[in-house]
């Protein structure tokens, strides 16, 4: 008994570690439900996190505003010129839209789906440096469900990975456990774009074909093959292309359209076709 008492501490540590390893391997699988205790912790911390985050964003914004004032006049002139150019483009696009409509009717195509969005604020980010996830202030009570795509005007952000009543967790494209079915918009060559963790802002796209036609600055969009993301959502642009050491696989590094470091508001698409299981 004396010996057991001496090693009791180490025994307690060992038992706890075994329990934690078991818990980790069980929860590592894609889960359809969130544990009650997870929901409670997320919901309890979210309002304070939102306040803290808002304060930091406010301070950072004020500093940035002071810096921006110096460049405002110059920027204003550039924007006016650009707005004039956009007016011309809008007229041209309207013409093309009418023409597109007419040709669709002629060929018997169905109308493209119009997405329905729920606007959400970013509340906080994950605490570690290995994954890339954010929490948003919308949950199942707002019609949010697991695997719904999340976007901004700059492009695809990620997918909903966990949902509680008022808060959801979004797995970003840059998360190392994320993989998105994508294709090069011009050549239609497909592949999988994966994240590389929070320290790398670039995605790595592995092509299905080593003969894929791709060039720097090519636009990359979702392919729609993965059952989670609808086709045609802008992902980013190709930075450079490489092959593996055996020359069998072709890779491209993609710069996402979204600046993940400055995400404050996102849109959740609530009427995209959603499948079961992670990307």
């Amino acid at each position: 008994m004396l010996h057991l008492g001496r090693y009791r501490k180490f025994l307690a540590v060992l038992v706890t570690l075994v329990v934690l390893v078991t818990l980790m391997s069980v929860t590592a699988r894609e889960r359809e439900t969130v544990l009650l205790v997870e929901k409670a912790v997320i919901e309890a911390l979210a309002p304070v996190q939102a306040w803290f985050g808002g304060l930091t964003v406010g301070i950072r914004g004020t500093v940035a505003d002071l810096e921006a004032i110096r460049h405002l006049r110059e920027e204003n002139e550039t924007l006016r010129a650009r707005a004039d150019a956009y007016d011309t483009t809008v007229h041209r696009l309207k013409e093309l839209e009418i023409e597109n409509e007419r040709l669709r009717t002629l060929l018997g195509f169905t109308q493209a789906v119009e997405y329905q969005y729920v606007v959400a604020d970013v509340v906080s980010r994950n605490a570690d440096n290995w994954f890339s996830r954010i929490t948003i202030n919308r949950g199942s009570s707002d019609g949010i469900a697991k695997n719904m795509p999340v976007v901004t005007s700059q492009g695809l952000v990620g997918r909903i990975s966990e949902v509680s009543a008022n808060i959801s967790v979004v797995q970003l494209l840059t998360d190392r456990a994320s993989g998105t079915g994508t294709l090069v918009q011009a050549s239609r060559d497909g592949g999988i774009a994966s994240g590389q963790g929070s320290q790398s802002p670039l995605l790595s796209m592995m092509f299905f074909e080593r003969t894929a036609e791709v060039a720097p600055e090519d636009a990359v969009v979702t392919s729609g093959f993965g059952e989670i993301f609808p086709p045609g959502l802008f992902v980013g642009r190709v930075v450079d292309i490489s092959k593996d050491s055996y020359g069998l696989l072709k890779y491209a590094r993609i710069k996402p359209g979204v600046d993940f470091g400055r995400l404050e508001e996102v849109l959740v698409i609530t009427n995209a076709t959603v499948g079961v299981g992670g990307p």
Binding site: K9, A12, V13, T16, L17, V19, L20, V21, T22, L23, M24, S25, T27, A28, R31, L35, V37, E38, V41, I42, L45, V48, Q49, A50, F52, G53, T56, V57, R60, V123, S124, R125, N126, A127, D128, N129, W130, F131, R133, T135, S161, E162, V169, R176, A177, S194, Q196, G197, S198, Q199, S200, P201, G261
Partner: protein
């Protein structure tokens, strides 16, 4: 600084103080430091708290601090519940075991200990990720582990000083109580 320590000293339970540090650390880590990230990396505030706590209070408290901080972190964002709890518990306990053998009164030793412990924590996380088949190349031990350890080290003096003041206050209270009891026994 001292006002915060005085306020913390007034809290009755030691673990209420630990809870305050863990929740506060988590809030800073998830809502403030992402905006102050350097090359996309932020310090591990929770690990700094765990190491400082383990250095002062020993292995059992290091274990409790690591387990509590890790579980809270896992529950807020985790798909892999237990991942950070495992890493933080192991390192917290380990730091507590070696704490008795190092000189804790100077600020430099705990600061260096935080650097080494955070790196060890990132290494354990990397090993677990590999075991879970999450893509994490070996180079990430250096590209993630080293910068996070250095960044976290910068916070160590601030956190350690506050926890140290609380620890000294707690010890003084214990001495007062023991002294009072001895005096009463003497009078009898």
């Amino acid at each position: 600084m001292n006002t915060l320590s005085e306020w913390l000293n007034r809290l009755s339970s030691r673990h209420a103080v630990l809870g305050f540090w863990i929740v506060g650390g988590l809030l800073f880590q998830t809502a403030v430091f992402p905006h102050l990230a350097v090359f996309g990396l932020k310090p591990d505030v929770l690990m700094v708290v765990v190491v400082c706590w383990a250095l002062l209070y020993g292995p059992a408290e290091g274990f409790v601090a690591g387990l509590a901080a890790g579980l809270v972190q896992d529950l807020t964002f985790g798909q892999y519940i237990g991942l950070f709890a495992l890493a933080k518990t192991l390192v917290g306990f380990g730091v507590g075991v070696v704490a008795g053998k190092i000189f804790r009164e100077t600020i430099w030793v705990p600061t260096a200990a935080v650097g080494v412990a955070v790196f060890a924590h990132e290494f354990v996380v990397w090993v677990c990720l590999r075991a879970l088949h999450v893509p994490a190349p070996a180079v990430n031990i250096i590209t993630v582990g080293l910068p996070v350890a250095v960044y976290s080290t910068l916070l160590a003096p601030l956190v350690y000083r506050q926890i140290f003041v609380h620890y000294i206050g707690e010890r003084a209270k214990e001495k007062d109580l023991t002294g009072g009891a001895n005096q009463a026994a003497g009078r009898r």
